[in-house]
């Protein structure tokens, strides 16, 4: 091959090389195309809840100090004083709301375990022999497991001495902290809520009188708190009133479920307008009911020494402003200050009741016996196959409303002096799952 021919071959090879370089395809195709999807992102939703007592400030699950979407320190539902047996106790409304963006498939409530929050921080690596806590809700027994939780951190300590309800320190078997748990960290006794002696509900003698200068619990020698007798006598009920439907979830009327969805919830209201003696009436105008009236119940109107019993002829639920009664003429011009009570609820339904107590709520419906709150479909009816029990914020049923009340029964023929001057303290937990 001549030099000239060699140069030609080399030039051809260079041209092929250049074509191969700029073409880039593995097959050396002449035509090709390509796209790229950049910036893809996955954003998780939120599942948070709020819990509002009456018209108070909503308490957020995400607002709790433990930073784990568990807020152990929302407002108390009830703070009742100077209660007497057989007399209307009190009721409060709790609104539970899904404030997140994801539906909750499950909504529960239950009795919390004996609990508190740390009132003294723990230091990672340091030996812990006592937990300094906010006043302990319930009684700790030696040997109980105490779970300390903050964010994703958790550690279990073992109590090595008993601690009474209200105590602010729990002695534990020495153990090095596995994290620096700050003040506000939640503390739960996972061994609790098994008997009347170790429930979240605990009794103490009152240290302030029910009225100024009157005798208080610590003045008395006949009101021992051993075994939490007041927790064991006081009755509790939880009735849902979402969307005008009613369902008794806890208390007298829940097992079996009352056909109308009403708990045996006592009332104590006033007339909203005066009665006259001029002729028969078929309805009692009352301030918004703070309980329920069942058809057939005896409704007692009292003003001073004047009293009259009417017969309810229809059900009336929480919030109703009239009670339908069998026609009767008032025997007195009852003024608006007259009190209106349902004696049937008190004397027939509740006074003999020894089942629906706070103690039994704590032992039967703790973290093991959670009460699942299926959506309501009517009075006394639920949909227990629903896939959503609390819709995400601003859609469907994202709020549910509950009436929570307590009552101290007055069983016939039983001296209850032992319950004078006592205070029961207890809690309620609300929980949603994705």
């Amino acid at each position: 091959m001549s030099l000239r021919e060699l140069k030609g071959v080399l030039l051809l090879l260079m041209a092929i090389g250049a074509a191969a370089y700029f073409g880039g395809g593995t097959t050396f195709g002449s035509f090709n195309a390509e796209t790229s999807n950049v910036g893809s992102a996955i954003a998780s939703g939120t599942l948070t809840m709020s819990d509002q007592v009456n018209a108070g400030t909503a308490c957020l699950s995400a607002g709790g100090t433990p930073q784990n979407n568990v807020n152990p320190a929302c407002a108390a539902v009830l703070a009742l004083t100077n209660v007497a047996p057989g007399v209307y106790g009190g009721v409060a409304q709790v609104t539970v709301q899904n404030t997140g963006s994801i539906d909750a498939s499950k909504l529960y409530f239950w009795a919390p375990q004996v609990n508190a929050t740390l009132n003294g921080a723990l230091t990672n690596g340091n030996a812990v022999t006592a937990l300094t806590v906010t006043p302990l809700e319930g009684t700790v027994t030696s040997g109980d497991a105490l779970v300390v939780s903050f964010g994703t951190q958790t550690q279990t300590f073992t109590a090595n001495a008993a601690a009474s309800g209200g105590a602010t320190s729990i002695s534990v078997t020495s153990l090095a902290a596995n994290f620096s748990y700050p003040i506000g960290t939640s503390v739960s006794d996972t061994s609790s809520d098994t008997t009347a002696n170790n429930t979240d509900c605990y009794d103490a003698k009152t240290t302030t009188p029910g009225t100024a200068l009157a005798t208080k619990g610590t003045d008395l020698n006949f009101n021992p708190v051993t075994g939490n007798p007041f927790c064991g006598a006081a009755l509790i009920f939880v009735q849902e009133t979402t969307g005008g439907n009613h369902y008794c979830w806890l208390g007298k009327g829940s097992s079996p479920e009352n056909a109308s969805g009403m708990c045996s919830a006592p009332i104590s209201v006033n007339l909203s307008s005066a009665l006259t003696t001029g002729g028969p009436i078929t309805s009692l105008p009352v301030t918004a009911l703070n309980g329920n009236v069942a058809s057939g119940d005896s409704i007692v109107v009292v003003s001073g020494s004047n009293t009259q019993t009417f017969a309810a002829s229809a059900n009336a639920f929480f919030g109703a402003t009239a009670i339908t009664v069998t026609s009767a003429t008032p025997n007195f011009a009852y003024p608006t200050t007259s009190t209106v009570t349902d004696s049937t609820t008190l004397s027939v339904a509740l006074n003999p009741d020894t089942t629906d107590t706070i103690t039994n709520f704590d032992t039967a419906h703790n973290t093991i016996g959670k009460i699942q709150l299926f959506p309501l479909t009517g009075n006394g009816t639920i949909n227990n196959t629903a896939t959503v029990e609390l819709s995400h914020f601003n859609t469907g049923t994202f709020s549910r409303i509950f009436q929570i009340g307590v009552y101290l029964p007055a069983p016939a023929g039983i001296n209850q002096n032992g319950l004078q001057g006592l205070q029961s303290t207890f809690g309620i937990t609300w929980h949603i799952d994705q």
């Binding site: 498939s105 499950k106 809690g427």
Partner: protein, 248 residues
């Protein structure tokens, strides 16, 4: 193009993926990925108290709560300790002034009284009585006269309520013997001690006793006397108790 074959490695990969999916996505409700929780702790429910205090004249108050189970059966002062020099013709003993107060925080809707049944050693009476007596030897007497009459059927009692702690204005009724329209004085009658209400026939004094409130009672003993039968009550010591009770 050759058909791909599922090797055992491929099967294992599939099983791992399925397992991961089951852990992450399955078990909803039991192992929910997201959850939220609030607790309302510190709900409190306090009972009030119902305690009765009992003061005789200017003595110290006696409290029901000082006794067992809020019943103070023995610790309160006596209404009277009438000297043995009392005899027919002398003045009646000075009436006792009783102040009852509800020092609890709950209103009492009922105020009741009665005389407990007494068994007095040496009493000629058979069985416990609301009033009882026994024979005794008066101081300085070596040969007492032993009366044979029942003083519980002779001595009389009257209970008048007052509207004020100074016992100046009686109410318009008489507690015992009961009258709703006349004071005891206007009514002008007493009742024998033996007619005091028993534990099974308790007398309810209307209007109860409000929390923090007081009521005032004057209790008077009277011996009407009878020239023909006075001797039968010589050397006799008479006993009666009064119990005061409030109910919520």
């Amino acid at each position: 193009m050759s058909k791909k074959r599922f090797t055992s490695k491929t099967y294992l990969k599939v099983l791992i993926v399925v397992g991961l999916l089951a852990v992450v996505g399955g078990g909803a409700g039991t192992f929910a990925s997201f959850n939220a929780q609030t607790t309302n702790p510190g709900n409190t429910f306090q009972t009030g108290s119902l305690v009765l205090s009992d003061t005789i004249n200017t003595g110290s108050a006696c409290y029901s709560s000082a006794g067992s189970g809020n019943v103070n059966a023995t610790g309160c002062d006596a209404l009277f300790t009438i000297p043995q020099t009392w005899y027919p013709g002398t003045s009646d003993p000075t009436p006792a002034h009783l102040t009852l107060a509800n020092v609890g925080s709950i209103n009492a809707t009922a105020l009741k009284f009665w005389a407990p049944l007494l068994s007095t050693t040496g009493s000629p009476l058979t069985g416990p009585q609301v009033c009882n007596y026994k024979h005794y030897t008066p101081t300085g007497s070596s040969q007492p006269y032993v009366g044979t009459g029942n003083p519980c059927n002779a001595l009389e009692i009257q209970i008048q309520e007052y509207t004020d702690q100074n016992f100046t204005t009686p109410t318009t009724s008489c507690v015992f013997p009961a009258s709703t329209t006349q004071t005891c004085s206007d009514q002008g009658t007493y009742s024998e001690l033996s007619a005091l209400p028993s534990p099974t026939s308790q007398v309810t004094v209307p209007s109860g006793l409000t929390a923090g409130g007081s009521r005032w009672f004057e209790i008077a003993i009277h011996y009407p006397g009878s020239s023909s039968s006075d001797n039968e009550f010589q050397s006799e010591q008479t006993f009666f108790d009064l119990t005061w009770h409030i109910d919520q």
